[in-house]
């Protein structure tokens, strides 16, 4: 098990000095920067400011992520909700600087992770930061696991590379981690290959690898989309317990509002490269201030309700993100649109009367707008 400790900010985080290898110049700089920053303010684990990522393709410049703002507290679970192509995965990849370049490039903005200016780091420093602080879990474990290497070695290598553990200590740690993620008879399974695990068990192995270095942030990108609902429930329960026990902060990327409802403290909704609404989970679900969020909620049948006739649908398709118009990106599909929506894009404005930290991007729900 990973021993947690109390951080300066009150949240439980892994101990700092041992976290970064100070033996290398990059590591020393990273460590110094971290401590400094945390003494200065460090209220948030992650602050993303006006982050923009574009893809330079033969068909034009795709504005995949456009001036995105996000905040994440230590130990908090944030849901990043949206449909395919909304930019939620690219946002997560950009935070960890994993966007393939070319064709992609982060063209603007700031990412401050635990006080560190992520976009200003060298590639080597970034590699260290990723290895030590940020774990990734992707939708399809089969493409992110090495099919030719026993899973025990994959977990141990990650622990050895980033924590500098001995071979024996790393192997023991791999077994511990498999136990932590709920794999039965962990010691017996260290020598098994990924294909010898079921889909749900493979996803657990992925999570074990991500946890190998006690990350402060786990980015889970549609971790259960390929899994059956009963297995999905198991994985979600596992993520909940990790968040509880180790205070690991989680960015949970999902298209499933139900998952966000059950897992997250706060939710940010993305549409066409933009964050269009953000707030506490109850406020987002009970009183959304962006018609897209409302429409998403209404367009899914619910398993707990008697069906009530036709489903309300969102007609049309998301817009092309090559040089988008300076208008509300949802306006062409919005039932509440007016002239202004097609002429000017609304900004993310706070909606304090609808909950703490609630903000939305919509002319209709602005004060004096036509949706009260």
């Amino acid at each position: 098990m990973i021993p947690p400790s109390q951080g300066a900010d009150g949240g439980t985080v892994a101990p700092l000095p041992e976290m970064v290898e100070v033996s290398t110049p990059e590591g020393a700089r990273l460590a110094a920067q971290t401590v400094d920053a945390r003494q200065r303010h460090a209220r948030k684990l992650l602050e993303v400011r006006d982050l923009s990522t574009r893809f330079f393709t033969p068909g034009g410049v795709v504005h995949a992520v456009d001036e995105v703002n996000l905040e994440l507290d230590y130990g908090e679970t944030l849901g990043l909700v949206g449909e395919s192509g909304s930019g939620k995965s690219v946002t997560a990849l950009s935070i960890a600087r994993l966007v393939a370049e070319p064709p992609g490039r982060i063209v603007g903005g700031e990412v401050i992770f635990d006080g560190i200016d992520v976009l200003g780091l060298s590639n080597e420093e970034m590699r260290l930061l990723r290895g030590r602080r940020i774990g990734f879990v992707f939708q399809d474990p089969m493409t992110s696991l090495n099919p030719t290497m026993p899973v025990g070695r994959q977990i141990a290598e990650s622990a050895r590379a980033h924590l500098g553990l001995s071979r024996r200590a790393a192997a023991a740690r791999a077994a511990d981690l498999l136990a932590t993620v709920g794999i039965p008879r962990p010691k017996d399974r260290l020598g098994d290959y990924p294909h010898q695990f079921s889909g749900g068990m493979r996803q657990r192995v992925m999570i074990a690898i991500a946890l190998a270095c006690q990350p402060m942030l786990l980015i889970a990108d549609e971790p259960t989309t390929a899994l059956d609902v009963t297995v999905q429930a198991q994985i979600m329960e596992l993520l909940r317990s990790l968040s509880r026990e180790f205070r690991t902060a989680i960015i949970l990327i999902t298209h499933d509002l139900g998952i966000a409802a059950g897992m997250c403290q706060r939710v940010s909704v993305m549409y066409a490269g933009r964050i269009v609404e953000t707030g506490l989970v109850d406020d987002i679900f009970e009183r959304p201030r962006m018609p897209y969020t409302r429409a998403l909620l209404d367009s899914r049948p619910r398993v707990d309700l008697e069906p009530g006739g036709r489903l309300p649908t969102i007609e049309g398709f998301p817009p092309d993100l090559v040089d988008p118009d300076p208008a509300c990106r949802f306006a062409p599909r919005c039932a509440h649109r007016r002239e202004v929506c097609l002429e000017r894009e609304p900004g993310m404005t706070p909606r304090p009367s609808h909950g703490e930290g609630h903000a939305a991007r919509c002319w209709a729900t602005e004060p004096g707008g036509w949706i009260p």
């Binding site: 059956d228 009963t230 999905q232 409802a261 059950g262 909620l297 398993v303 707990d304 489903l311």
Partner: protein
């Protein structure tokens, strides 16, 4: 559509000598009926046999045992010609709107193909029919010269529906028709299927792992586990008071887009994975993962006697020795939100 003790077993062959080593019992003794004009939903985890059952009903898979009757006629003794004629009345819509359309054919050719195969129309009448079908599924009839790659996932699924409707079928197997689509598009396709059912008097077998979508569209619902039907009944009954512990576990695992409901729910998290259908557990196949079996102190009956479907309520059957206890439990059922 009726099935009686339907079985589809796939042989497992040894790698070198191709000798039969055993069999995967994908569908193992399923008895069910679908009334004309109704929609039967079929749910279960992947590998439970729901797709194989759907294919066996319309003879895309040869059953290895049991009988299938369509409109009162046993399909087994029919000649291939007779079967082909009957097959016109049964169609299937596939999950993958990307893989199920030939990328080298135009949309017009894709939708026209079944019309030609069954010699339903030709020349101008055929073209007219294709345009009519595209309009019926909500596509621009001017799209006939385009190729599948020019369409979005939702539109492609509409093309698949148009192709299925081309031969004026009465019964359609919808095999995970919306699971590859985005949330906002799923609703559009569900509505289309509901509209077509009303306009054309269609009968559906709606196969999906999405229990919310199944509740929305189905009059009755069947729950499969490891090749067996473990519960079947009117949707309102099965969702409100599930009588099989597996149904309750499944329902409790479905996330609900309401944080207040999510906090209140009583979840049963099933342990482990579905056992292999090549070697299903003895007795009740679910007993190895059953929460009720544990709660009742592991009764021997569950391990030794395979439960059959029996009536447990009005319009509701379940295959569990302790269905009466399961139905009383509060596990898995979501209390309706109080206003």
């Amino acid at each position: 559509m009726e099935a009686d003790r339907l079985e589809v077993h796939f042989p497992i062959l040894s790698a070198i000598l191709q000798r039969r080593r055993g069999s995967v019992r994908a569908v193992d003794g399923v008895t069910m009926a679908i009334e004309r004009g109704e929609t039967l939903g079929l749910v279960g985890e992947s590998g439970c046999g729901k797709s194989t059952l759907g294919r066996a009903l319309i003879r895309l898979r040869e059953p290895t045992g049991g009988t299938v009757r369509f409109d009162g006629r046993d399909l087994a003794p029919l000649s291939s010609r007779e079967l082909r004629r009957l097959r016109r009345r049964m169609q299937i819509i596939f999950q993958d709107p990307y893989g199920s359309l030939d990328p080298r054919m135009t949309v017009g050719a894709i939708v026209a193909e079944p019309i030609e195969t069954h010699r339903l129309a030709s020349g101008r009448a055929k073209l007219e029919r294709v345009r009519e079908l595209l309009e019926l599924v909500g596509l621009d009839p001017g799209f006939t010269a385009r190729y599948p790659h020019e369409f979005s996932g939702g539109q492609r699924q509409r093309i698949g529906v148009a192709r299925a409707l081309a031969v004026e079928p009465e019964f359609i197997v919808c095999d995970e028709p919306i699971s590859a689509l985005d949330v906002s598009i799923q609703g559009q396709v569900l509505n289309l299927l509901v509209d077509l059912r009303r306009e054309l008097g269609l009968t559906y077998l709606f196969i999906a792992h999405d229990l919310a979508a199944v509740r929305h569209i189905s009059d009755r619902v069947g729950v499969m586990y490891l090749g067996r039907l473990v519960e079947v009944g009117r949707s309102s009954a099965v969702y409100a008071s599930p009588a099989h512990p597996y149904t309750r576990a499944l329902l409790s695992a479905v996330p609900v887009a309401d944080p207040a409901v999510e906090r209140r729910r009583r979840r049963v998290i099933l342990v482990g994975d579905v056992p292999s259908p090549a070697d299903p557990p003895p007795g009740c196949r679910f007993h190895t993962r059953c929460w009720l079996y544990e709660r009742l102190g592991r009764p021997a009956e569950c391990r030794t006697v395979q439960p059959e479907l029996r009536i447990v309520g009005e319009g509701q059957q379940a295959a569990c020795h302790f269905a009466e206890t399961a139905i009383q439990s509060d596990v898995g059922v979501v209390e309706p939100a109080t206003a």
